[in-house]
Amino acid sequence: MSTLVSTVQTGFEVDKVREDFPVLKQKVHGKPLVYLDNAATAQKPLAVIAAIRKFYEVDCANIHRGVHELSQRSTAAYEQTRIKVKQFVNARAKNELIFVRGSTEGINLVASSWGRKCVKTGDEIVVSAMEHHSNIVPWQMLCEEKGARLRVIPIDDRGELLMEEYVKLLGPRTRMVAVTHVSNALGTVNPVREIVELAHKAGALTLIDGAQAAPHMKVDVQALDADFYAFSGHKMFGPTGIGVLFGKAKLLNAMPPYQGGGDMIRTVTFEKTTYNELPYKFEAGTPNIAGGIGLGAAVDYVNRVGLDKIAAYEHELLIYGTAALLQVPGLRLIGTAREKAAVLSFVMEGIHPHDIGTVLDRMGIAVRTGHHCAQPVMDRFGVPATTRASLAFYNTMAEIDALAAGLRKVKEMFA
């Protein structure tokens, strides 16, 4: 069986890891669930579900406040995640990691706090043509407010950044370069180290949207030298509503708070408030405590499986999936970058993605259809929408075979 082939090639025991994900054991419309929508959200292993359950059953209390036992336990568990995340992305210190709702809030925090203080009329913010709306709109809003200009790095037909065009965009007015590490719509893995280095030479800061990278590859914020790096818990097998913004401490210290409230203050009088130290300055109000603890369990889980093994196996799935889909008549892949994550975005001649998605769903196969919150990418490729199969390490080659067979059925129905 093809599943066995993968086991032989990378030594990755996919059948064993699938046991960790209860959601995968169900049938949908009478067929075994084939979950290929991991770029939207990933499924949760038992370890994450158990950690959240334990918090609510045993340790539930607010954090950073009480002297009582439960409050101390919940504070310790929540802060333990910060240490785990620090190691996970190799930050210098744990106070460089701010808990947010997800990548979107992380980007908004920087655009709002750093942007309001540091961006002036005539300044420029650089994004790329493959950004998710969450890494376009906050900058657009900032530019509108400040009279600054949004510049866009174009991409080629493969879905790769045109680096020579990027260099031309950089100048004395560039304040920030905000690009994605991995494109959610195309799968492109961007040369982030090089992008950051060029931005720094031009005197600009960098924010990397790591939502699609963190679950699939080793991220080292020090090696990348990124000034800010944002990612979401739910895409890396953790809960929804929790994410992380990494920022270099000296930048975060110089930035004004994002939101005001409890926990972010040191002293409050009606005349003046002094702010708490990092990272609490940016964490107003009771946070998503259960989510934070669940994220810690997700980090542990991913470390246990091993990101190197995950990346190798997913690459194998990508190669297999690319070959399988290209054999489907009339199918065209959107996003064929040389460096790619396991995302297969495609169109089929004369067949709308929504019809593809509905027919596949009735076969138990979950894919995403639409613009993937990246309308400029759709415009660039001249398509209104695509169908996207995005893979995770619990997917199998047999599931890719099921997808290809499903697409042949779609072709028969609508051709």
Binding site: H352, H354, D355, T358, G370, M378, P384, M413, F414
Partner: protein
């Protein structure tokens, strides 16, 4: 089964849509857009003395939205404005309620399967929302940009 949704008549109209062309001499025009899926639709009507003399559409969409627009334009011809609005309401009920299909829906009952696919209701109703805005517009030559 998925065949309940994609019945033969729907597949036929999606592959070979009727009245799918811009209209010379249209006096009502409206544009429909579904931002969720990017589907766009232009609807053209020729309404004289309160009667829909001709109807056509242009657009890009899924099989459900294309077939819905195609069958809608077929069923509109010869109807009064009021009859067209009543048909619109009955079609909407067909997709969103459990009430039995109205008898005078004719071929349009083929869309009854859509109610089991809540994510697809908007695909089937795009043309009809566009119809409402075309009928509520004023008699004026269509501006072609």
């Amino acid at each position: 089964m998925v065949d309940d949704l994609y019945q033969e008549l729907i597949l036929d109209h999606s592959k070979r849509p009727r009245n799918c062309h811009p209209m010379e001499g249209a006096n009502r025009h409206a544009e429909g857009f579904n931002p969720l899926c990017g589907d766009k639709l232009q609807l053209y009507l020729n309404v004289e003395n309160g009667i829909v003399r001709d109807a056509s559409f242009m657009g890009s969409g899924c099989a459900i939205s294309t077939a819905s627009a195609s069958l809608m334009t077929e069923s509109l011809k010869g109807k009064t404005r009021e009859e067209a609005i009543r048909l619109l309401d009955k079609f909407h009920d067909l997709l969103t309620t459990d009430t039995p299909a109205a008898k005078d829906l004719g071929k349009l009952v083929v869309f009854c399967g859509v109610r089991d696919y809540p994510a697809r209701v908007k695909c089937a109703t795009l043309a009809w929302h566009t119809l409402r805005s075309a009928l509520e517009g004023v008699d004026a030559p269509v501006t072609t940009e």
